[in-house]
């Protein structure tokens, strides 16, 4: 049996190529059935996302899986195999398993550690399962792939850190307040960026939103989006003590929040922390506000710096994840090799049992009949001998499965016991 993974990804092909090879969800079942129906193909899986189109097949040993997939793509997608060849990657056997584990663990993603790819792979598996194109070896491998991805996610921090500015703001808010449940947000300047940040914060549990804007009608509009409260621009500084998180994105050319305003607000809050997110350019909040105890001021560059630090941290975690994946590949290969010698072990046991049963029949015929006690003693004796003889070769087969010299050992045992291939 052969395993092949072939396809294009954001690393190997531009979007023009990826979109030509992409499979629409409604056409997936037909495509899978077509692929599975081709000569020599045992199982098939198609993963089609915006960043990758990947086909995984298992075929009989006599089949060239790459040729089958090339023909399938050429027919199904009407593409010239020579045109897409430079963009296609193809990995087989152990490398294919390694590739699948890396993809599922989000180590091959455009944003390393993003969580969507695992869901997309699971969706691809469900589609293939529904189409009846995974039902054996590949299904077992995919189940293992999902377990590996889960292990990577739980044992490393690869997916923990935010890698977008708006999520970095949410992550920082969580680092300051713990839970965002019941927190109040004040938006100063009803812009798109502040709306996006507030939306993320609201989704993370923040309970109430105040919106203020120089044009009051715009504040009313945005407040309605969050079931919040519009505040007249002239009054917002007085309401600061009520806000845990302040997002400023007004177009004002000068600072709209000064150190004295924040000092008064934090005193009124009896030093309960405040998180001020200034995403306006030019900045809306006097930078010295960050010097006030329990006030945490982040402007757009600070948020970007957090994102950069998170990315660096993710890359460190990715190194750990790569080691886990390599370890899991080794473990999987060892299991596969043991599974490979399983039929040989069963054959050996059957052969020895056959000899034992034959010899028992011969003895019974010559010296029998025996009493039940004698039968029991003979059965026990002969089974003991057979098991002791089988123990050595079976242990050797298991120990050498997957080892470089394994093939030679297997061959010797097969010949010694006259076992069939």
């Amino acid at each position: 049996m052969k395993l092949l993974v072939t396809g294009v990804s954001h690393k190997t092909a531009p979007v023009e190529v990826r979109e030509r090879l992409a499979f629409r969800e409604d056409a997936l079942a037909g495509s899978l059935a077509d692929l599975k129906g081709r000569e020599g193909v045992s199982e098939a899986l198609i993963l089609s996302t915006c960043n990758r189109v990947e086909i995984t097949v298992t075929t009989e040993d006599s089949t060239d899986p790459q040729a089958v997939v090339d023909a399938f793509l050429a027919e199904r997608k009407s593409v010239d195999p020579r045109a897409i060849a430079p963009h296609l990657y193809h990995v087989e056997g152990r490398d294919a398993i390694h590739h699948l584990f890396r993809v599922a663990s989000s180590l091959d993603s455009m944003v390393v550690g993003e969580p969507q790819i695992l869901g997309q792979l699971k969706a691809a598996y469900c589609a293939a399962k529904a189409a009846g194109t995974v039902c054996g070896w590949l299904e077992t491998l995919l189940a293992r792939t999902f377990r590996v991805a889960k292990r990577v996610r739980s044992e490393t921090g690869i997916g923990l850190m935010a890698v977008s500015v708006s999520y970095a703001a949410v992550e920082l808010a969580r680092k300051i307040f713990g839970s965002l449940a019941g927190r109040t947000i004040m938006i100063v300047g009803a812009g798109k960026m502040s709306e996006l940040a507030a939306r993320h914060l609201r989704r993370s549990g923040a309970s109430h939103v105040f919106v203020t804007n120089r044009t009051y009608e715009r504040a009313v509009e945005m407040a309605a989006l969050f079931q919040g409260t519009p505040v007249e621009y002239g009054r917002f500084v007085g309401m600061l003590p009520e806000a845990d998180i302040v997002i400023t994105s007004s177009g004002a050319p000068e600072y709209v929040l000064h150190k004295e305003d924040m000092q008064r607000a934090i005193a009124a809050r009896r030093n309960r922390p405040m998180f001020v997110i200034d995403i306006a350019v030019p900045r809306n909040v006097e930078p010295s506000v960050n010097q006030i105890d329990n006030v945490f001021l982040y402007d757009i560059d600070d948020l970007q710096e957090v994102v950069n630090a998170n990315l660096r941290e993710r890359m460190k975690e990715a190194e750990h994840a790569e080691r886990l994946v390599a370890e899991e590949v080794d473990r999987t290969m060892a299991r596969l090799k043991v599974a490979e010698v399983a039929p040989l072990i069963v054959g050996l046991q059957e052969q020895l049992e056959q000899i034992r049963a034959g010899e028992m029949a011969r003895v019974r015929h010559k010296f029998g009949p025996f009493t039940p006690q004698q039968e029991e003693a003979l059965e026990s004796l002969t089974r003991g001998i057979v098991n002791k003889i089988a123990h050595g070769p079976i242990s050797e087969l298991r120990n050498h499965a997957g080892q470089p010299e394994g093939a030679h050992v297997i061959d010797v045992i097969r010949k010694a016991f006259h076992l069939q291939d």
């Binding site: 969580r174 680092k175 713990g178 009896r270 030093n271 922390p273 960050n290 710096e305 957090v306 941290e313």
Partner: protein, 272 residues
């Protein structure tokens, strides 16, 4: 002190103890459940306290500020009067967390001027002392947790202020979580320490009679408890967090260690 004067003072201390209960509930549950009741008891207690002082003055034929106990009683009474006046003028509920326990302990100590009978049994003596030691050790454990969490708070706060996340930022819990842990462990620790101080004072009073208050180890204990009370007040009423609160917590922890050292020989009493 005159016998009747002490009795009136004990009644006052009993009423002040409702104030202590209010402070404990405020700290542990973070709601001021009993304030009105405690304030009422505080006012009533002050009446009995005044009666005690007047009785003592008439008995001694001079203003009762001639020894430590009389002075302490007078001081506690003045604190009560000033607090009540300030509260009716400015509504200082938050200050009650500091004043109520302080006045209770001052009044309680002031009642311990007249020696009482010796221990009725050795079992009672040792059990009382064991209870005090267990309470104080539990209090130390809670204080240690508070100090540890305060230091972690400092590190995390520094990371967030620097805006350049490093290892601590990713590994340490959020400030909110640490703050919650600090508040809870500090409140539990304060309750345990207060109960331990009450148990220790009464034990020392019976054990050493009038001389108990003159012991340096007792003075250190009260000083430590006083700083703990100040810490609790500054955190709950003034909202102290971060660097200032951490320094204060570590100071209280240091004083607690000193108090422990001062009492290190106490355990030998428990030896059979």
């Amino acid at each position: 002190m005159a016998e009747m004067s002490v009795i009136w003072l004990r009644v006052a201390a009993a009423l002040y103890s409702l104030g202590l209960l209010h402070a404990i509930l405020t700290l542990v549950r973070r709601r001021e459940h009993l304030f009105r009741v405690a304030l009422g008891a505080f006012g009533l207690g002050s009446v009995f306290h005044l009666v005690s002082i007047v009785e003592e003055g008439i008995f001694r034929r001079h203003c009762p500020i001639n020894n430590f106990y009389e002075t302490l009683s007078m001081c506690a009474f003045l604190v009560v009067v000033l607090y009540l006046a300030a509260h009716f003028r400015y509504r200082l509920e938050s200050l009650s967390v500091f004043i109520f326990p302080l006045v209770f302990v001052m009044a309680m100590v002031a009642t311990m001027s007249n020696p009482v009978g010796a221990w009725s049994s050795q079992v009672m003596r040792k059990t009382w002392l064991t209870t005090h030691i267990i309470l104080v050790l539990l209090g130390y454990a809670a204080l240690l947790l508070t100090a540890g969490a305060s230091i972690l708070y400092l590190f995390q706060e520094r990371e967030l202020k620097s805006k350049k996340p490093h290892t601590f930022y990713y590994r340490l819990p959020p400030l909110g979580t640490l703050d919650d842990l600090i508040s809870k462990s500090m409140a539990v620790g304060f309750v345990l320490m207060t109960l331990a101080v009450i148990a220790a004072s009464t034990w020392a009073f019976i054990e050493h009679r009038r001389a108990w208050i003159a012991q340096p180890s007792i003075a250190i204990s009260f000083f430590t408890w006083g700083t703990y009370l100040a810490l609790v007040f500054l955190r709950t009423a003034a909202g102290w967090r971060g660097r200032k609160a951490a320094i204060m917590t570590v100071t209280v922890l240091g004083l607690s260690a000193l108090t422990w050292v001062a009492h290190v020989r106490l355990g030998t009493i428990l030896k059979p």
